[in-house]
């Protein structure tokens, strides 16, 4: 049994950090893991996706279209971009963040309205997460990736506490950051467990 998790977003959002934390938690849980990135120029605001495969007998690193059980989209339009990867029973955790690129600002392209709704209509389960709102309320919008991890943590094939411990370990050298990231993770977890989700 292999679980395929796709983390998507844009350069600078912490897509790779989130994927790395997931992968390391799975390693700690004693599972086999591979992680690969599709990000040629990731620091430059382009689309970024990281693919994590965990389970037993994991060999290839790329997730095949139609086989991702989980999608963590740190930006709402990016959730649409990676729809083809989702399995029929896949769950998409979609941040409400709308990052509008210059190609849209200049009027050359349009930003999709109601991205989460369109994704839902395409036939997969969608859980919208107000990651930017929660992150901002905690004082730093960069915490949004950890909020997303918290929100997805109960729907992953590993103990949420192991993932939480990885998050804490990552920021162990800075108690203030560790506390903030712990709060972000917990807020995400609460949100996903709320009946509305």
């Amino acid at each position: 049994m292999i679980t395929n998790i796709l983390v998507a977003g844009i350069g600078g959002q912490g897509v790779m950090t989130a994927a790395e934390l997931l992968a390391r938690a799975a390693l700690t849980a004693g599972l086999e893991v591979t992680k690969t990135e599709f990000a040629g120029m990731s620091q430059r605001g382009g689309s970024v996706c990281s693919q994590v495969r965990i389970g037993e007998h994991v060999r290839a690193s790329a997730i095949r279209p139609g086989s991702a059980q989980r999608l963590l989209a740190l930006e709402s339009a990016e959730a649409l971009r990676y729809r083809a990867y989702l399995a029929a029973d896949g769950i998409a955790f979609v941040s409400t963040l709308r990052a509008v690129p210059p190609v849209v600002s200049s009027g050359a392209s349009t930003y999709p309205e109601a991205a989460a709704e369109r994704l839902r209509e395409s036939g997969v389960r969608v859980i919208e997460v107000d990651a930017p709102g929660i992150a901002r309320s905690l004082g730093d919008v960069r915490l949004a990736n950890i909020v997303m991890l918290g929100a997805a943590s109960s729907a992953l094939p590993l103990d949420a506490r192991i993932l939480q411990a990885e998050v804490l370990a990552r920021f162990a050298r800075d108690p203030r950051l560790a506390q903030l990231n712990a709060a972000a993770f917990a807020a995400g977890e609460r949100l996903a467990l709320a009946p509305a989700a």
């Binding site: 350069g11 591979t34 599709f38 120029m41 290839a60 095949r64 339009a77 649409l80 729809r83 395409s122």
Partner: protein, 643 residues
């Protein structure tokens, strides 16, 4: 030459628990202590392919490593630079890097050079004669092919160099194999006295996995021995070594036939036997767990006897290789009936879908069903960063009509995109100057458009300065825009001789670009240093220099926003009472400026004007002030309280 090591890594978690020990590269370096070896215990580390190569090189006793940054190879040397025993550097270009590795090998030290596929083109002059001299201590050339062309100007198959130079090619499938094959490569290199090419691809370099790491060997030091017939490749001596190349190739083939990295994996479903190298092996194994497979890790010279054994046990043969049909052609030339690129993609990565489709074609079966399509969404290409000093340059170039702009390779290649559309060519590292000179020499007499070359600091030092000397020497009249942002920015801000720092961040001499341009012959009056954020002044200088009937160079003075010497200013915001929605500021292409409202306005003359009202994302704004210089209403103002 090398002895078993007497160090092992003990980490805190190992002392507490018997759970599997998984360390990242950083942890190995920061948490590990070196203790005398009591009893070797295998350890596993969580490493990318690039980190695995670095780790294995260190284990193998490498003491000298050199590279020029290039995706997807960059992390090899970055990782090696953390090992204090290893001298590692960002060389000026790939040719110099390979020469440093050769010199170290001649001096008796194991050495590594790393580069991306196109870097080998630059290094190839040295490489092709190294194939004659051979090496003394083990030397590995780690080449990262950008299969899929994700961040390069082309997609080329570095395995050709093995055929071209009669050199062995090793092809790992993942990080674990990258580690093991790097260790093997050093032994092989010393055994056959040749550089060994470790051919990686993006899907090896950037994939992380669990890797069994080993104890470092104790590096030994030989001494450079004078051997004119070997190291001095004048025609007489070179000629004497040509036959040796072919003898070595035969010896290499014999080694490849018996090498444990070339193996037949038996399978019960014999309808198709797969011959495979590189990461496609992993996808293949998941799709066809019961198929017989000839897995090639030491893929050149091709082990033909092994292939013959394999072929006799299956109905059909399918060669799965990225990207060129090299194994396929060699097998065909040897009389094998194989399929390959007739049913598989001719370029790009070979994924599980492609292999399944190919197999279905060969077996006369229906192709696998396609999964759900992606939902339509705008393309999100990479952009220049908020406050990037290149923004002003491209804003100015976009406003200058009737100019031909010869571009180069770096972040600034993005200037070819929207909204600037300000580059007319990008071919290879340093090519902007030669192309500019050729455009001027080759154009018609009526074509008087000025020609501007745009090149960054690191690319200029890599291979652009020769083009400038050539331009001056031959009386060209192009204008060179040297975008000195004090970083090799596109690959992540690596150091170069223009930054005043070396790999690892330590102080180093800083090249004086103005003095360099003067030394190459540009007249002092035509060497201009400008602040790219001060748009009117910058534009004025640009106009003056393109009109000059002689070579000129404009050097920009602002660092990359990620460079250590970048200073953020007070962020700006839009005073909505003043913003008229003219949209001029959007021409800068700064990602911190976004449209919040569009409107159409009917003018008294009957024309409709489109309005775009904007906001500045103050958290992203660096306060460079470029956008303010485009605003006729002074609507872009500093955020209060942050001055």
């Amino acid at each position: 030459m090398l002895h078993d090591g007497h160090f092992r890594i003990i980490c805190a978690s190992q002392l507490r628990t018997e759970a599997p020990i998984i360390l990242s590269m950083t942890e190995i370096l920061t948490r590990a202590e070196l203790k005398p070896l009591e009893k070797a215990r295998p350890q596993r580390a969580w490493l990318s392919g690039n980190e695995a190569v670095a780790r294995a090189a260190w284990e193998a006793g490498v003491r000298v490593a050199a590279a020029y940054p290039g995706t997807p190879s960059t992390e090899i040397i970055e990782s090696l630079s953390h090992y204090p025993e290893v001298y590692s550097e960002w060389s000026l270009n790939e040719k110099v890097a390979l020469e440093i590795a050769l010199g170290a090998s001649m001096a008796g030290r194991r050495a590594l050079a790393a580069m991306k596929h196109v870097g080998v083109n630059v290094a190839s002059d040295t490489l092709m004669t190294m194939a004659l001299t051979g090496v003394a201590a083990g030397l590995v050339l780690a080449v990262a092919d950008d299969v899929g062309c994700g961040s390069s100007q082309n997609e080329q198959d570095s395995r050709y160099w093995g055929r071209f130079g009669h050199l062995p090619i090793l092809e790992p499938a993942n990080a674990s194999e990258a580690h093991a094959l790097t260790r093997y490569a050093f032994e092989l290199s010393e055994r056959i006295e040749l550089p060994v090419i470790l051919r990686m691809t993006t899907r090896v370099c950037h994939v992380k996995g669990s890797v069994a790491v080993a104890e470092p060997l104790t590096a030994t030091q030989e001494r450079f021995e004078k051997d004119v017939k070997r190291w001095v490749m004048v025609p007489g001596n070179a000629k004497g070594r040509l036959a040796l190349q072919h003898e070595r190739e035969a010896a290499m083939r014999a080694l490849a036939e018996a090498c444990e990295w070339n193996r037949i994996e038996k399978g019960s479903d014999r309808r198709i036997g797969f011959i495979v190298s590189g990461p496609a092996y992993l996808a293949l194994r998941e799709s066809f767990p019961d198929a017989p497979v000839l897995k090639l890790g030491f893929s050149h010279p091709l082990p033909l006897a092994l292939a013959r054994d394999f072929a006799s046990s299956v109905d059909k043969l399918l060669v799965v290789e990225e990207t060129e049909p090299l194994l396929e052609q060699e097998l065909k030339a040897a009389g094998f009936a194989v399929h390959g690129k007739d049913v598989l993609p001719s370029h790009d990565e070979i994924d599980a879908d492609a292999i399944e489709r190919a197999a279905a074609l060969l077996l006369g079966m229906a192709p696998p069903a396609k999964p759900h399509a992606s939902l339509d969404v705008f393309a999100r290409p990479p952009t220049l960063c908020s406050g990037c000093p290149h923004l002003g340059v491209f804003l100015a170039l976009a406003r200058m009509k009737n100019v031909i702009v010869s571009g180069d390779i770096g972040c600034y290649t993005l200037g070819a995109g929207k909204p600037w559309n300000a580059l007319d060519s990008c071919v290879s590292m340093g090519a902007s100057l030669g192309i500019a000179q050729g455009l001027v020499r080759g154009r018609s007499a009526e074509d008087t458009r000025p020609v501007v070359a745009v090149i960054g600091d690191s690319t200029f030092l890599h291979s652009g300065m020769q083009g400038l000397l050539n331009l001056v020497y031959h009386g060209g009249n192009s204008t060179v825009l040297l975008l000195d942002n004090r970083a090799t920015a596109m690959t992540g801000g690596q150091e170069n001789p223009g930054t005043g720092r070396a790999l690892g961040g330590g102080a180093a001499p800083r090249v004086d670009f103005a003095a360099l341009a003067a030394a190459l012959g540009v007249r002092k009056e035509r060497i201009r240093s400008v602040d790219p954020y001060l748009l009117p002044a910058f534009y004025k200088v640009l106009r003056e220099e393109v009109r000059a009937a002689e070579p000129s160079i404009i050097i920009t003075s602002r660092p990359c926003v990620f460079a250590p010497d970048h200073a953020r200013g007070v962020p700006l915001k839009v005073d909505s009472a003043l913003c008229t929605g003219c949209g001029n500021c959007l021409d800068a292409g700064c990602p911190a400026i976004t449209v919040i409202r569009r409107a159409s306005e009917l003018k008294p003359n009957g024309k409709t004007v489109e309005r775009a009202f904007v906001q500045v994302e103050s958290a992203a704004c660096t306060g460079c002030g470029l956008c303010a210089s485009t605003c006729g209403e002074a609507a872009l103002v500093p955020v209060q309280g942050q001055a």
